[in-house]
Amino acid sequence: MGPTDLILARPIVLLTLFALAILLFDFWLPKEKKWFNALLAFIGVCFSAVGVHQIQAFIGNTPGIVGMLGTMVVDRFAIYFFYLFLAGTAIAILMSVRYLETENENHGEYYALMLLSVAGMMCMASGFDIVLIFIGLELMAISTYVLVGFLRRDRRSNEAALKYLLLGAFSSGIFAYGLSLLYGLTGTTNLAGIHQQLLHRAFDPQYRPVAIIALVTTLTGLLFKIAAIPFHQWAPDAYEGAPTSITGFMSVAVKAAGWAMLLRILLGSPFQFCGLVSMRDVWVPLLVFVSIATMTGANFAALTQTNTKRLLAYSSIAHVGYMLLGMIALGTATSHDGFDDGFKGILIYLLVYTFMNLGAFAVITSLRHRNIAGDDLDDLNGLYSRAPVEAVLMLVFMLSLAGIPPLAGFWGKYFIFLSLIETKHYVLAALGVLYSVFGLYYYLKIANAMFMRQPEKGEEKLPVSLAMRVALGLTGLATVYIGIMPNRFIEMVNWALGIVQQSNVANLMH
């Protein structure tokens, strides 16, 4: 444990400490003071962010550094994801405050678990050793199981938690099995080492079957975490049953973590190929199948949903399908353009998705009050007349999810499809855009309900807490701002991926 390791570990450690602190303080907090937990958690997130920033300063211009006996690599890629997780969590915390009061489940554990799961995510994003990745995964997963079931008195919540738990554990079992085979195949748990070994072993007919089984089982675990068809079925149930704030949290942070892990294991990092990248020829066809299945199934299923949360669950599955297209472009890229833009696409997608999807869930959360559950599509009817600001924001989020420029959501799709064009997957690209039109239909259903239908229950205004206002403001602002002025964010992603392509554009502007 050198000083480097301390710096690298700092964000995670901070999060853990704050989680424990919250558990501790929670005892003394009277019921009406519980918001202090949220505050503490928020501060914790901020501290951790500062820690991340210190790492960023520390690595300077280098792509990143390896530490913790080589089990952990904190490169720009990881740092990008750290920021993503923290942003998502911060907003989720803001969303939760009043919601938990309404649900009368205001316990410190909630925030503690949130922070812990973020710690897990960080391990997944920066893990360079399958052991660490597995630990991080489990840490995140187990905390999330509990969070999903946090509304103890709500049967839907219990059930969602139970299902999520059973399936999650099952999938991580399969995942672990795959990892064990990988270890057996290569004799190391380090992704770089695995890559080295696989380079020849994966193509050696003697080992190939094992390699393929290992890959397939691992892939199952990965795809389960990002909820891609046919490993998606937990998502709608869990999303619907979970507390809305947690649904939002899961749909962005957990998913982002899943993606980080997936990229780590399948590609290693933008700076250094590790993991299973040498088996591209195996996993690309699978991903083609999965992505098409995901887009098709999710879009169709979302079409007739009547529960907003469930609808958004399916929509988020559909988005996974689009991102997988980027993965395919990555896997098949022969030129640098395709690879970069695919990678960029996925990262930007996760970024914008964090804001617009959280925003959407924030609106739904804000609908929750005494008499209305708020997650039924009819609860949105005539929302405009009750809460114009929320309605307009929701419209913005929906259009952004549908990928209408100039809103953030467009940018994810933009790079994905560009990369597909560059790698000559015209059919997949056409399929993707057509499905995104298709998706507009169910997003418009929400818009219709809000703007064009009359409210059943009176015209009473919605009370919206300050924290929620901040959350809505942040997400809405981000969605619009990234949409109109995406440049610095694209640059950010370029930085995260170490892409330098401004030069030739630069000489355009004399």
């Binding site: 353009d337 405009y384 259009l399 209408i404 420029p405 100039p406 933009y414 499809f417 560009l418 064009i421 560059e422 015209y426 690209a429 056409a430 855009v433 057509l434 995104s436 039109v437 507009l440 239909y441 418009l444 219709n448 703007f451 064009m452 002025m485 995406p486 440049n487 694209i490 640059e491 370029n494 392509q501 401004q502 030739n504 554009v505 630069a506 000489n507 355009l508 502007m509 004399h510």
Partner: protein
């Protein structure tokens, strides 16, 4: 030329919309006033453009695009998108049309809109900005952003203030048009990628694409180029709308509020034709000259002309009738465009303006009756000219202009289009007269359905007691028609300025698309006439000895992109 007149025109409506946000929504009249003031301001501010642009036309400014603002890639350098505005004659006319119609239609909805007034005007002004942006953008990405962003307010206008089937119509409109434009997005991305692979430069600058896009035909072969052409074609054809893609139009029109229909017919449809002119033609000249693509496009245009007219002949709903008549009229526009002749193109652009004026007016006319009687069933009316003489007169004039009566605007456009098609010696393997002969019946049918409608609504005695009390036009309503009438007569009587304005862009375009274009000596007609020069200075279409007789015109007739304008006006001259 670094003044920001275009930006000012572009964002005036948006400023109005933002201002409206701060007005309490109970205070309807204040909202109406502000909205109308800003709509009028939007129009007035665009007026100075006229003398400025005219002065450029007169001075023969060689730059293909004028008032260029911003440089390439200044918006999103990392992908090479720029906030670049600029106009040529074509977009200039369309912009003026947009500002005019925007004002007219906002004025027309003073009493028509009673509920949720605030939102209505906010969305309407936003829509205005979106449309203007489409016509101003010189950056393909910027264009696409405006193109799509503009769908949203239109969707809400139809969906919130629409008729009984508004939800269906609104969603149909949105999905249908979006489906087209996402395919276009792929096309754009392909051009973008291709431009990069050729020049190693990432940019969406239109002029850059003008250079590289035509090479696609040689680089990727006819098949790919045709597919690419189609990816654009669908987007524009749906917007126009051309024959098989037109079914969203009647629904949208019937359900939309009057002002919405005016804008929809007057401006939105023009975006499709504008897209053809601005992108499809200069990008894919080879696709048009080889293979059967152009043939089918022409066929679709002709079908649209006849078919639209026939369908509107049998409509029972006035608005539907007008909507289908738009299909027919836009058929003429596309016909003129794909004739690829100077006449055809000039006529087509002119006809787009005319259609905006006439059909816009027709929708206002229907709207006025609808406002009084809340029905658009033709059978509900009859003998209206007894109770509303002024209204009847204005309607008659607008019908005549719409059916293309000489000395009114409609004729100038149609005649030039038909002439341009006829006099093009070979269109997709058929002589021009072949196509014209198919299109001409549309002129007859136009008279048929419009006059029949007029007879059923205005002639005869008032049979329906509900119609006896109808009051004639209020001054405000008359005011909405006055500018349209003035324009109708102006274009009909003295279209020369419009042709002057269109001269340069059209010639550039034709020179780009056609390998060999006829060039008559500019001073030809002096020798051409048989009477004394004084009486015949520059008159008559006099025959020329040979096409090669002309050097002077060719200078301006080169391609916009290949043309190297002096200053920063052409952003995309990068060292590739």
């Amino acid at each position: 030329m670094q003044n920001h007149i275009l930006s000012i025109i572009l964002f005036t409506p948006l400023v109005g919309a933002i201002l409206l946000l701060f007005v309490p929504k109970e205070n309807k009249d204040a909202i109406r006033w502000i909205a109308n003031i800003f709509a009028l301001a939007g129009f007035l501010i665009s007026l100075p453009l006229v003398p400025l642009f005219w002065e450029k036309v007169k001075s023969g400014d060689p730059a293909p695009f004028k008032f260029i603002e911003g440089t390439a890639n200044n918006w999103i350098p990392s992908i090479g998108a720029g906030y670049v505005l600029g106009i040529d004659g074509i977009s200039f006319l369309l912009i003026m049309l947009t500002t005019l119609l925007g004002w007219v239609s906002i004025l027309s909805s003073w009493t028509a809109i009673e509920n949720r007034v605030k939102e209505y005007y906010v969305w309407f002004l936003i829509l205005q900005t979106g449309m203007l942006g489409v016509f101003m953008a010189l950056d393909f990405f910027l264009f696409f952003v405006f193109w799509e962003a503009m769908l949203v307010p239109m969707y809400l206008l139809i969906g919130i203030w629409g008729g009984p089937r508004k939800l269906y119509a609104a969603i149909k409109f949105f999905l249908y048009t979006l489906a087209g434009s996402v395919l276009m997005l792929l096309g754009i991305l392909f051009l973008y990628f291709h431009h990069h692979s050729v020049t190693q430069v990432y940019t969406f600058s239109l002029e850059a694409f003008y250079k590289t896009a035509p090479q696609i035909y040689t680089d990727y072969g006819p098949y790919a180029a045709t597919l690419l052409f189609l990816s654009f074609f669908f987007a524009f054809a749906i917007k126009v709308p051309m024959f098989p893609f037109h079914t969203w139009l009647p629904d949208a029109h019937v359900e939309a509020p009057t002002a919405g229909s005016v804008i929809l017919a007057g401006v939105l449809l023009k975006m499709g034709t504008y897209g053809f002119i601005r992108f499809s033609l200069p990008f894919f000249p080879d696709v048009l000259h080889n293979g059967s693509t152009r043939f089918w496009v022409m066929v679709l245009s002709v079908i649209a002309i006849i078919y639209g007219a026939l369908v509107s002949l049998m409509q029972k709903d006035m608005k539907k009738l007008v909507a289908y008549s738009s299909v027919s009229h836009l058929g003429f526009c596309t016909l003129g465009i794909f004739a690829l002749s100077p006449m055809g193109l000039s006529g087509s652009v002119l006809q787009q303006i005319n259609h905006g004026i006439s059909t816009g007016a027709l929708f206002l006319i229907v709207g006025i009756l609808y406002e009084r009687r809340h029905t658009r069933e033709i059978s509900e009316y009859g003998g209206i000219s007894n109770v509303m003489p002024i209204y009847a007169t204005i309607t008659m004039i607008m019908f005549l202009s719409s059916m293309g009566l000489p000395l009114l605007n409609g004729f100038v456009g149609e005649f030039t289009i038909l002439g341009g098609t006829f006099l093009q010696k070979d269109i997709a393997g058929h002589p021009g007269w072949f196509w014209t002969a198919w299109a001409v019946p549309g002129v007859v049918l136009a008279a048929a359905y419009l006059l029949w409608l007029y007879q059923r609504v205005f002639f005869g005695t008032v049979t329906n007691p509900k119609n006896e009390k109808l009051h004639d036009l209020t001054p405000r309503e008359v005011a909405t028609f006055v500018p349209l009438l003035i324009m109708a007569f102006w274009i009909g009587l003295y279209p020369k300025p419009f042709f002057e304005i269109l001269k340069q862009p059209v010639n550039n375009l034709v020179a780009t698309v056609n390998r060999e274009t006829p060039k008559a000596e500019t001073t030809a007609s002096v020798t051409g006439g048989t009477t004394a020069p004084s009486e015949c200075a520059g008159c008559g279409l006099s025959a020329m000895p040979s096409p090669t007789a002309v050097k002077p015109a060719t200078a301006s007739a080169t391609h916009p992109a290949t043309h190297t304008a002096p200053t920063a006006t052409t952003p995309a001259k990068g060292k590739n």
